[in-house]
């Protein structure tokens, strides 16, 4: 049996703009978690490590990140006793002469050709591991699977690919190399280690059960909720790969589902409600979490998502709050609209504007305007 550590989309040096002021902390956290990979590989008795692209966030990463990658990959290679196979992805493509891929240590097998060629082979006990891969370059080769031919060599044949799939959940077109799960399932390989898509899709989600997206090593966008890390794959000759996700130690973005705050009386109370839900959801998580929540319901006050976010950020270090509450539908607004006060007039006109909105965007703006107005008047 061959044990493989499937890593992808570490995005070292990513600006992580979506994390705002927490970005620097998160970058440090990702680096720290990445440093732990050699220890994990030793502990899990990994035979080979495959990196399916986007180890760096940029084609020309800063020196510290390049040095870190070299250090960790070299450490993973363990003096050549463990195979380390890497392909560049769309973020860290190797087309520039000064790309760090051209100066990787000898024991790291970096595949720089944009088309499939002969596999890199590694003897593992009494069997062999053959790794094929393509460096991301849709200009040189727009079809990521073109030219793949499995050799007749004995052993397990693994394909490394950094490409999007139109049937990935949340697919929105994307750029560059793309394929389909059907096309991937059709190729003659024992395991297809995929990169680019940031959510983990284990082999059980693919036809044939031989392809796998490891997902991003840690969430690099504030929308990437759920566990992220690396995939440990066990390959038996002629068998279906067994894969499991091992989460990285980077704080996980946790989505507790919609939180109904209809009955809360203040922003802080709403934040408490979210905190309670997070506590319920994160009991099985043994490291830090960051809430990513959607508030729903018809609260009697125009909640301020930013304030709730601030309160949660203070508690969790980082939080994302989508305020989808319908204050405008609340009984309070309707009661207010019956009053002959300025706020009453605001509520009445605001409701009328919302009803008269031509489309969803106008309606959203009208609702938001009503909230802003009533908050400013401090009438509710």
């Amino acid at each position: 049996m061959i044990r493989i550590l499937h890593v992808s989309d570490v995005h070292l040096g990513a600006p992580l703009s979506g994390f705002g002021q927490h970005a620097a902390d998160r970058r440090r956290s990702i680096r720290s978690a990445f440093r732990q990979l050699p220890e994990l590989a030793d502990r899990l008795e990994i035979h080979a490590v495959v990196v399916a692209g986007d180890l760096f966030d940029n084609q020309l990463p800063d020196r510290a990140d390049a040095d870190l990658a070299r250090e960790v990959l070299r450490s993973l290679a363990d003096g050549g006793r463990r195979g380390v196979f890497v392909i560049p992805g769309n973020h860290d493509r190797c087309s520039t002469p000064d790309s760090p891929w051209h100066t990787m240590p000898d024991e790291i097998e970096v595949i720089l050709e944009p088309r499939f060629g002969a596999p890199r082979s590694l003897e593992v006990g009494d069997t062999w591991l053959h790794v094929y891969g393509v460096a991301y370059d849709p200009v040189a080769e727009p079809d990521p699977l073109a030219g793949y031919v499995r050799t007749s060599a004995e052993g397990s044949h693994v394909v490394l690919l950094h490409a999007g799939m139109s049937d990935n959940p949340g697919w929105h077109g994307g750029h560059g190399l793309r394929t389909t799960s059907q096309a991937v399932a059709a190729i003659d390989a024992d395991y297809v280690a995929l990169g680019d898509y940031h959510a983990c899709r284990l082999p059980t989600e693919f036809a044939g059960g031989r392809a796998c997206y490891a997902g991003s090593f840690a969430a690099v966008r504030a929308t990437e909720t759920g566990p992220h890390g690396v995939v440990v794959v066990e390959l038996e000759a002629g068998g279906v790969p067994a894969a499991r996700l091992v989460p990285s130690s980077t704080p996980m973005l946790i989505d507790p589902g919609d939180v109904d705050v209809s009955d809360v009386g203040s922003d802080l109370e709403a934040a408490e409600r979210v905190g309670a839900r997070i506590a319920e959801e994160s009991t099985a998580v043994d490291h830090a979490v960051h809430p990513v929540v959607r508030l729903v319901g018809e609260p009697g006050i125009p909640l301020d998502g930013d304030r709730i976010g601030d309160a949660l950020t203070e508690r969790y270090g980082f939080a994302v709050v989508a305020d989808d509450t319908r204050f405008i539908s609340s009984a309070r607004v309707h009661a207010l609209s019956g009053q002959r006060t300025v706020a009453g007039h605001v509520a009445r006109i605001g409701l009328a504007r919302t009803d008269d909105s031509a489309d969803g965007e106008q309606r959203a703006v009208a609702e938001h305007a009503l909230r802003i107005s009533l908050r400013a008047l401090e009438e509710v």
Partner: protein
């Protein structure tokens, strides 16, 4: 309660030098006999907030009148709970007009001179603070509305000024608009109001848009660079293939050329070997020929030299002989001539002697002729004598020379075969023989030389072949062998030459050389172009660095711009919404004011007064008196009815202002004056109802009336001794008052109690 509340006062003001707690659930009732300082206490509260306008005659007199009777500092401090629930400490030094307002946690809201008659930024700031807490910032406005001083009720007017006053009450509206505008200013530089002034500097939306534009430009540039890589990559691939093809061609052509060169070299060697063999063959033939010529010359020489061999220089000897012989003949002829001349001299000498003698004779005779003849004869004689001497000498010389010549002839003929027979006559024959011998000798020498030269050449050839001393036969044999070898090598190379070359290329050195040159030139061009394109590709690659990050950045910025745009739009819409709502609200001000007053008239005027209306304008308001509509100042109204009507107008106005945000505490000094118990009860019930919405402070000297009305809470009882009574249940118990709460309007039993209870 949605109004500020005066919780207590600590004062040194007039007769008071004490503190009072003023918090109550219902109206605060300051009760006491005349002169107990009820009005002073109320005035102290108002003056602490609003101060004295000491330039006004009335205020100046009052300012002095309120100076503490006990002396000391002229000051007061109130505690106020504002609309947000914060408790403020509000103190004023009346002598200096220095005011200090701070929150319970010590935050200073205002500190400075707050002279109500003054102007300037400090006073304006103070007014802002007063307005934010109490709504009305001027005591005159309070006196026209929410402060009903004793005896001042009848001066109450009902006109449009009240509407103007309400405008100031909407500071919260303006504050809300300001807050929305401030928030919008954070978002966008666009004016929050259409047609307004745009801000100078970009704000979040514009900054993010600019960042997005820049990121898009960078992305487009990177995408262009990425797209531009396409043709380059394709061309590079073509060039790579062409380079491979050319390298393949060269890989075929260069060995072919090498073989052709080898063949040419082998051919040259073969040719040289052939030439060498020819040369050696020729040498051998020449050598033999030369040898034969030598032998022939030797035989000829032998044949020609049977009688001896003439010396080599015989031709010169012959010439010398001829010359000698010729000279000797000349000398012979000379000798013969000199013999004849000697005879002539003798004759002449004799003649001369004769002449001389004749002359001498003659001369002795003295004849000149003799002299002449004698001279002539002497001359002749001398001449003959001289000649004779000369001839003799010449003869001797000739003889000597002839002898020498003879000796030389002998010497010349030394070595000449048969020299004794050599004469001028035989000399030509001898010369012929000599010539024949000489010819034979020359031929012999020439052939000998030829043999030598050939032998030298053979030696050279042997040396050149590295086999010094080897004979011509062996050399020839060697050369023949070498020729065979080179022929074999040539055949071998010919066999090794490629059977086919690219295209229809002739298997010739020139063609292949030319093809190689062309291939090399093209290869250089291809490599040059590849290098240039590789550089261009590297440049493009650099230009597209971070393309994926830029895509993410653009996506993020697009979302952010959209969020900011919507937020800014929502803020503009909110600003418009508040403005429009406020305008709509204000449009209804007059009706609302009339309605508020009418409501109070209905409550207070029952059953006599009702139907308050202002159809013809506020100043022409009317009321129904027992079914008849009368003006507010109609003499048909009794003093008590007028009092009630004015009180209703004031309270209605206070309600109206309260809705407008001016929830200043309602202060009514002696509201029950001139009223009977029934009307007093109606007034009290109304005040209780109002106290649910805003603080109500009333004064009364009529303690029995309070008892009759059942008022038992919230009483601050003043006595001549200045005792303060706190409005607490404990105090109420001490005073033996009932703790029953008055009914509140709007709550179960409230209106019933008001309407029916007093009935």
């Amino acid at each position: 309660m949605s109004s500020p509340t005066i919780l207590g006062i600590d004062l040194r003001f007039g007769r008071h030098a004490d503190s009072f707690e003023l918090e109550a659930e219902g109206p605060v009732v300051i009760s006491g006999p005349n002169g107990s300082g009820k009005t002073t206490l109320v005035d102290a509260i108002l003056r602490t907030i609003y101060g004295f306008r000491r330039r006004r005659t009335g205020d100046a007199a009052l300012f002095e009148a309120r100076r503490p009777w006990s002396g000391g500092s002229y000051s007061a401090s109130i505690r106020v709970r504002d609309l947000a629930g914060d408790v403020l400490s509000w103190s004023r030094d009346f002598d200096t007009d220095e005011v200090c307002v701070r929150t319970a946690d010590g935050t200073l809201l205002f500190e400075g001179v707050a002279n109500p008659g003054g102007a300037g930024p400090t006073v304006e700031r103070y007014r802002d603070v007063v307005r934010s807490v109490f709504g009305l910032d001027d005591l005159d406005d309070c006196d026209r509305t929410t402060t009903i001083r004793q005896g001042a009720l009848l001066d109450t007017t009902f006109d449009g000024d009240l509407l103007t006053l309400a405008e100031g009450g909407h500071a919260r509206v303006q504050a809300a608009l300001d807050a929305i505008e401030a928030a919008h200013k954070e978002l966008s530089r666009q004016p929050v109001v259409e047609g307004g002034r745009r801000l100078n500097r970009d704000r979040q939306l514009e900054q993010t848009r600019s960042a997005l534009t820049e990121a898009r430009m960078r992305l487009e540039e990177a995408q262009r660079a990425d797209r531009a890589r396409g043709p380059i990559v394709i061309r590079l691939s073509e060039l790579e293939q062409e380079e491979g093809r050319l390298e393949g061609e060269l890989a075929d052509l260069e060995p072919a050329l090498r073989r052709l060169f080898e063949r040419a070299t082998a051919a040259a060697v073969h040719e040289a070997a052939s030439e060498r063999l020819d040369r050696l063959v020729q040498l051998r033939a020449d050598l033999e020929s030369a040898r034969r010529a030598t032998e022939s010359a030797e035989r000829e020489l032998t044949r020609r030299a049977v009688r001896g061999e003439y010396p080599d220089d015989f031709r010169g000897t012959a010439a010398d002989l001829r010359s000698a012989w010729k000279r000797r003949a000349d000398l012979d002829r000379q000798l013969a001539t000199t013999r004849a001349g000697a005879a002539w001299g003798v004759w002449v000498g004799g003649a001369g002697a004769a002449v001389l003698a004749t002359g001498t004779i003659l001369a002795t005779r003295g004849s000149i002729v003799g002299w002449i003849v004698g001279l002539l004869g002497a001359t002749l004689g001398i001449t003959a004598l001289v000649r004779e001497v000369v001839v003799r000498r010449e003869r001797a010389a000739a003889l000597a020379e002839r002898a020498e010549i003879d000796a030389s002839v002998v010497a010349l003929l030394d070595g000449v075969p048969d020299s004794g027979t050599v004469t001028p006559a035989t000399l030509p024959d001898r010369l012929d023989v000599f010539e024949q011998q000489d010819e034979a000798r020359r031929r012999l020498a020439a052939s000998g030389s030829q043999v030598g030269v050939i032998a030298e050449r053979i030696r050279d050839a042997a040396d050149a072949a590295g086999t010094p001393g080897r004979s011509i036969v062996h050399l020839e044999s060697d050369a023949r062998q070498r020729l065979i070898e080179t022929e074999a090598a040539l055949t071998r190379i010919d066999r090794a030459l490629p059977e086919s070359l690219p295209g229809d290329l002739a298997c010739e050195t020139e063609s292949v050389e030319s093809a190689i040159e062309a291939a090399r030139v093209r290869l250089q061009e291809v490599r040059g172009e590849r290098e240039r394109l590789a550089l261009e590709l590297a440049g493009s690659a650099r230009a597209m660095v971070g393309i994926a990050g830029l895509e993410d950045e653009c996506e993020l910025l697009e979302r952010r711009v959209e969020e900011l745009r919507r937020s800014a739009e929502a803020h503009r819409a909110a600003h418009r919404l508040v403005r429009e709502a406020y305008a709509e609200f204000r449009e209804q001000d007059e009706a609302r004011l009339v309605e508020a007053v009418a409501k109070r008239v209905r409550l207070l005027g029952r059953p006599v007064l009702a139907g308050f209306r202002a159809d013809e304008g506020l100043s022409a308001a009317t009321v129904k008196l027992e079914g008849r509509r009368v003006a507010l100042d109609s003499p048909e109204l009794s003093f008590g009815q007028r009092h009630l009507l004015k009180l209703a107008i004031r309270l209605g106005t206070a309600d109206f202002l309260g809705v407008a945000g001016l929830a200043t505490p309602l202060v009514v000094d002696e509201p029950f004056a001139h009223l009977d118990d029934r009307n007093s009860a109606q007034v009290w019930q109304l005040l209780v109802r109002i106290a649910a919405e805003r603080q109500v402070i009333v004064t009364t000297q009529d303690s029995p009336l309070l008892r009759r009305l059942g008022v038992s809470t919230g009483i601050v009882e003043l006595a001549d001794e200045q005792h303060e009574r706190r409005a607490t249940p404990e105090t109420r118990n001490v005073l033996g008052l009932s703790t029953a709460e008055p009914a509140v309007a709007g709550q179960p039993g409230g209106d019933r109690a008001l309407d029916g209870g007093m009935e």
